[in-house]
Amino acid sequence: MIRLLWRDITLAFRSGGGFGLGLGFFLILVTLVPFGVGPDGEMLSAIAPGILWVGALLACLLSLDRIFALDFEDGSLDLLATAPIPLEGVVAMKALAHWITTGLPLVLAAPALGFLLHLDSAAYRWLIVTLLIGTPALSFIGSFGAALTVGLKRGGLLMSLLVLPLYIPTLIFGAEVVRRGAGGFLVATPLAMQAGITLGAIALLPFAAAAAIRVALR
C-alpha cells in the first residue's frame, strides 16, 4: 500500500501538471476575484475566507479525474483490482496521494494568497488549520465522484456536477471557521463538525468508491 502511495505521488510529480496545475489555478482564481469585485480592501478582506475556500475546492476538483482515469485507460486499474490488497485500500491510498499532491500544496499556498486578499491577520492560523482538516475530505469525496464516472467518455463535467454538491457541508464549516477566526469568535464547533465530516469521509467513502469501481470494471 505504501508503494502504491509512492507510485501515485511520483506519477503525479513526473507527469507534470497534476502538481502545479491545481496551485496555478488557485492563484489565478484568487487574482481574478479583485478584478471582478473591485480592489476595495475592506470588501476583499470580508469575502477572503469564502473565496479561499471556494478556490481550494475548485482547484481540488480540477485534478480529480486523474485519480482513476489514467489507470483505467492503461489497464493498471484492473491489475490493482485483482491485486492482493483490497480495492478499498487502493482507493484510500489513491485519495491520500491526491491529497498530498493537491490538497497539501493548497494548504501551504493559501496563506500567501490570503495576503493578496487582505485576509484578517487573526484568521491565518484558522485558515491553515481548517484547510488542513478539510482538504482530506475533499480528496476522499472526490475519489468517490471520480470512481462513479471512471468508465465514462465525457465524465469530467458530470463529475463536477456530482461532486460539488457533496462538497457543500465541508465548504460551509471550513469558511465558517475562518470567518469566526477573523472576527475573534469561538471556532470549536464548526471545526469539530468539519473534522467529523473528514473522518467520516475517510472511513466510509473508500467502500462506496471501491463498489463503484467494481461496477465500472465489470
Binding site: F144, L148, T149, G151, L152, R154, G155, L158, L161, L162, L164, P165, L166, I168, P169, I172, F173, E176, T189, P190, M193, I197, L205, A208, A211, A212, V215, A216, R218
Partner: protein, 249 residues
Amino acid sequence: MAINWNAFWEWANPRKFMRWTDRALPLISVLAAVIFVSGLVWGFFFTPDDYRQGSTVKIFYIHVPSAMMAINIWAMMLVASLIWIVRRHHVSALAAKSAAAIGMTMTLIALITGAVWGKPMWGTYWEWDPRLTSFLILLLFYIGYMALWEAIDNPDTAADLTSVLCLVGSVFAILSRYAVLFWNQGLHQGASLSLDAAENVDDVYWYPALVAIAGFILLFVSLVLLRTRTEIRARRLHALEMRERVKDA
C-alpha cells in the same frame, strides 16, 4: 401476522408488474385526478382569505404538498435503490429512475411557488434561508442523479452506480441540511402542518391541505407507475432490437 414475503416480491416481476399496473393504473389515475382537483378547488375557492396574507395564502395548497413530495420522493428512491442493491429487482431500479424526474419537478414547483409567495410576503423572491437553500441543494442532487443515469449506456451499470450515488447522496443531503442550518438563521416559518394540533394551522385550511397532499401522493404514484411501465417497455424494445441485429448479422 404472517406475511408471505416471497409472494410480496413476486409483484416486482416485470411481467407481473405490467399486468397488475395495466389494471390498476387507470383506477389510480382517475382517483388521483379527482382528489387532486377537488383538493385544489376546495383550497382555492372555498376557504377564506387569511387576515394578514390575503389570498396569497392559497399557494400553500401547492407549495406544502410539493415540498413534502420533493423530500419523500428522494426517500422512496433511497428505498428503491437499496432494494436494487440487495435483491436486484429491475423494476425497483427503474422505479427509482422514473421517480427522479418527478422529484426534481416537485422541488422546482416548491421553489417557484415559494418565490412567488415570498415576494409579496417577505419582499424578496429569494433569500439564503436554510430551508430555501436546502431545497436548492436537493435540486442539485436530483440533477446529478439524473445526469448519471443519462450518461451510462449499460442499464445495469447505470442502476448500480446511481444506487450507490443515491445512498451516499442521502447522507450528504441530510448533512447539508444541518450544515445549512448552522450557516444561516432562517426567514422561513416553521412547519405549518404537524400532527401536534397545538401549533397547527386552522381546520379551515387543514382539511383541504390534507386532500391536496393525498392528491399529490396519488399523482406521484400514478406518474411513477406510468413512467416505470414506459421504462420497462423501452427496455423490452431495446432487447428486441438487439435480437434483430444479432439475427441479421
